[in-house]
């Protein structure tokens, strides 16, 4: 019975892995690593990588700052409109991106932001899920700690910076990982909001590359491999934390 379990699970694992194996093996056919250098040089993938890394880093940094501040206020302070604001935040989380894509384009065009880095970063520097996750955690930190810190002359902001954030490292890591992945993988937004090649991110670059090279599968598989590799490494390093952030285990309590 146990053997049967492992046979079925391994079969499943092989099916899940097969496309990745085909990807790598095809990318190494006829020429081996030369396919990689050729794909890398056909279109400016180096530039696309720099763009993606910069946009992801700035977005994640922005999310951490805005979320930590907002979550701190929602978790520890009383102020008028708190409940209403929180409801407003949560309700926007239920609206999927395709719904507001076209009006966002019009809005960004009005601001003169279409086809700029700003269009790819600024609308994404607030993330409601992250605020929610951090708020849940901040609420678990005992109030007595705050009172003790205040007695020691700690201001409210210093308390956030010196006590709350250091105590929240695992949750912050989850927020960083979750937002890194969604920013790195985002496709429809940059596809629509940018036109110039100089602003292109790797997902958009790869999709255009696949249209241009539709016959040349060796180069396409090489490009797919180097475009997935960074996240694959991050996933394997932090998989335990990632799996739980994806399934929203923080949403339970």
């Amino acid at each position: 019975m146990k053997a049967l379990r492992h046979i079925l699970l391994s079969l499943g694992a092989v099916i899940m892995m097969a496309p990745f194996i085909w990807m790598v093996s095809t990318s190494l056919e006829d020429g081996g690593f030369a396919n990689y250098t050729e794909a890398w040089n056909r279109v400016p993938f180096g530039l696309f990588f720099i763009n993606t890394i910069a946009i992801t880093a700035l977005t994640v940094l922005g999310v951490v700052i805005t979320s930590a501040l907002a979550a701190y206020a929602f978790a520890t302070m009383e102020f008028p409109g708190r409940g209403m604001m929180f409801t407003l935040f949560l309700s926007t989380m239920m609206v999927p991106q395709p719904v507001y894509l076209a009006p966002s384009y019009v809005l960004l065009a009005k601001f003169g932001m279409v086809d700029t880095y700003g269009a790819l970063i600024i609308p994404w520097v607030a993330n409601v899920f992250s605020i929610f996750l951090l708020r849940q955690h901040f609420k678990t930190i005992p109030r007595s700690l705050y009172e003790a810190a205040v007695l020691d002359g700690c201001s409210r902001f210093q308390y956030l910076w010196r006590v709350v954030l250091p105590l929240s490292r695992p949750v912050l890591a989850t927020v960083v990982l979750f937002n890194t992945i969604s920013s790195w993988n985002s496709f429809m937004w940059p596809l629509v909001m940018t036109h110039s090649e100089s602003l292109r991110v790797i997902q958009v670059g790869l999709s255009y590359f696949s249209q241009e090279m539709s016959g040349n599968y060796r180069l396409l598989m090489a490009a797919s491999t180097f475009c997935t590799l960074p996240l694959l490494v991050i996933f394997l390093l932090f998989q335990k934390q990632l799996v739980s952030s994806y399934t929203g285990s923080g949403l339970k309590d």
């Binding site: 379990r5 492992h6 079925l8 699970l9 499943g12 694992a13 099916i15 899940m16 892995m17 496309p19 990745f20 990807m23 095809t26 700052i65 805005t66 701190y72 206020a73 302070m77 009383e78 102020f79 407003l88 926007t92 239920m94 999927p96 395709p98 719904v99 507001y100 894509l101 076209a102 009006p103 966002s104 019009v106 809005l107 600024i122 609308p123 520097v125 607030a126 605020i131 409210r156 902001f157 790195w184 993988n185 429809m188 629509v192 997902q203 790869l206 999709s207 696949s210 599968y217 396409l220 598989m221 797919s224 475009c227 997935t228 996240l231 998989q239 990632l242 799996v243 994806y246 399934t247």
Partner: protein, 314 residues
């Protein structure tokens, strides 16, 4: 009285609030207004009432894309529930290699949809792709996969001489290929959700059932399935919501301007994209967005309403 300069709580919320208001709330509300207006590349040309919605109802391409989307959702759901549930049951607690299996199944979830789509396009390639090579090796007829506009039921029933047409012909083989990728990509996520759901079922339930002489199937049928129902319902609704929004897979696997062979993989969000960004018909695209929004809102509310009711195990 202690006079101490403090940052007002509102200042803490302000950065997030500004972004959310400006880049979520305003576009969402703007979309509703735009759906009632004539808005194109030249800008705003006045309100037109429900014209766009009426046009939607009589637009065959809208209905085609809605039909394709419904096919897609109905096809992806059963496989996206049954396979992960089976895997989660197999991955019982304490099994050696459990976390390794989980890692492997989860790999496609974190991989970018674009890269995954590029790889699968190669897998389905009619001449050189590995899938047709395997089929030919086993003595089968190679298929056109992503270039095949004929419906799956039409293809399956052809040997029996039955020719279903229209919606009954089923999703085109091209769309079925895309659905396969959709299922493959979501298996890991749903499996992990089911694993968490299974861990929440108290072990003594099974022990009691065992004492009563219940077999494996009986305890699955009478304990696991009913106690897992909140998870199952959650997975069902979440999968429905994400499936309704499929875009990247379609965009990459059957690239524009086509929307697949004879438009058979043109799903709702892809159609919306074409209207908004190829034709720049923002008004009409917004009407489609509002339609999608209402559809997904109803589903979310169903989840809220029925999903939380059965969460008690005692």
């Amino acid at each position: 009285m202690k006079v101490r300069r403090r940052l007002s709580p509102v200042l803490y919320v302000l950065p997030a609030l500004l972004i959310i208001l400006l880049f979520r709330t305003i576009p969402i509300l703007g979309g509703f207004l735009a759906s009632l207006a004539d808005y194109d590349i030249g800008g705003f040309h006045g309100f037109v009432g429900t014209d766009h919605y009426q046009r939607m109802l009589s637009d065959p391409r809208f209905w085609l894309s809605l039909g394709n989307t419904v096919h897609y959702v109905l096809g992806v759901l059963p496989a996206g529930i049954i396979i992960p549930l089976g895997l989660a049951v197999l991955l019982k607690e304490g099994l050696e290699g459990r976390s390794l299996y989980r890692t492997v199944y989860f790999l496609p979830v974190v991989t970018s949809t674009v890269a995954v789509a590029v790889v699968w396009t190669w897998v389905f390639h009619p001449e050189a792709g590995p899938l047709n090579q395997i089929i030919t090796m086993l003595g089968g007829e190679p298929l056109a996969w992503l270039r095949e506009p004929r419906g799956i039921f039409e293809l399956l029933l052809a040997p029996a001489g039955i020719r279903p047409t229209g919606f009954l012909a089923g999703p085109s083989l091209a769309l079925v290929a895309i659905m396969t990728v959709g299922v493959w990509k979501s298996i890991g996520y749903n499996t992990v959700l089911f694993m968490a759901g299974l861990e929440n079922i108290p072990k003594d339930c099974y022990e009691a059932a065992k004492l009563d002489g219940a077999g494996r199937w009986a305890s699955f049928r009478h304990i696991t399935w009913p106690l897992l129902s909140p998870t199952t319902f959650y997975v069902l609704i979440m999968s429905t919501i994400t499936s309704f929004q499929t875009f990247a897979l379609v965009y990459v696997m059957t690239p524009p301007p086509g929307g697949g062979p004879l438009g058979t993989t043109n799903v709702l969000v892809f159609y919306l994209y074409q209207k908004a960004f190829d034709r720049f018909d923002i008004g009409y695209a917004s009407a489609i967005s509002v339609f999608l929004f209402v559809l997904l809102l109803v589903l979310t509310m169903l989840q809220r309403r029925f999903g939380e009711r059965k969460v008690h195990y005692s």
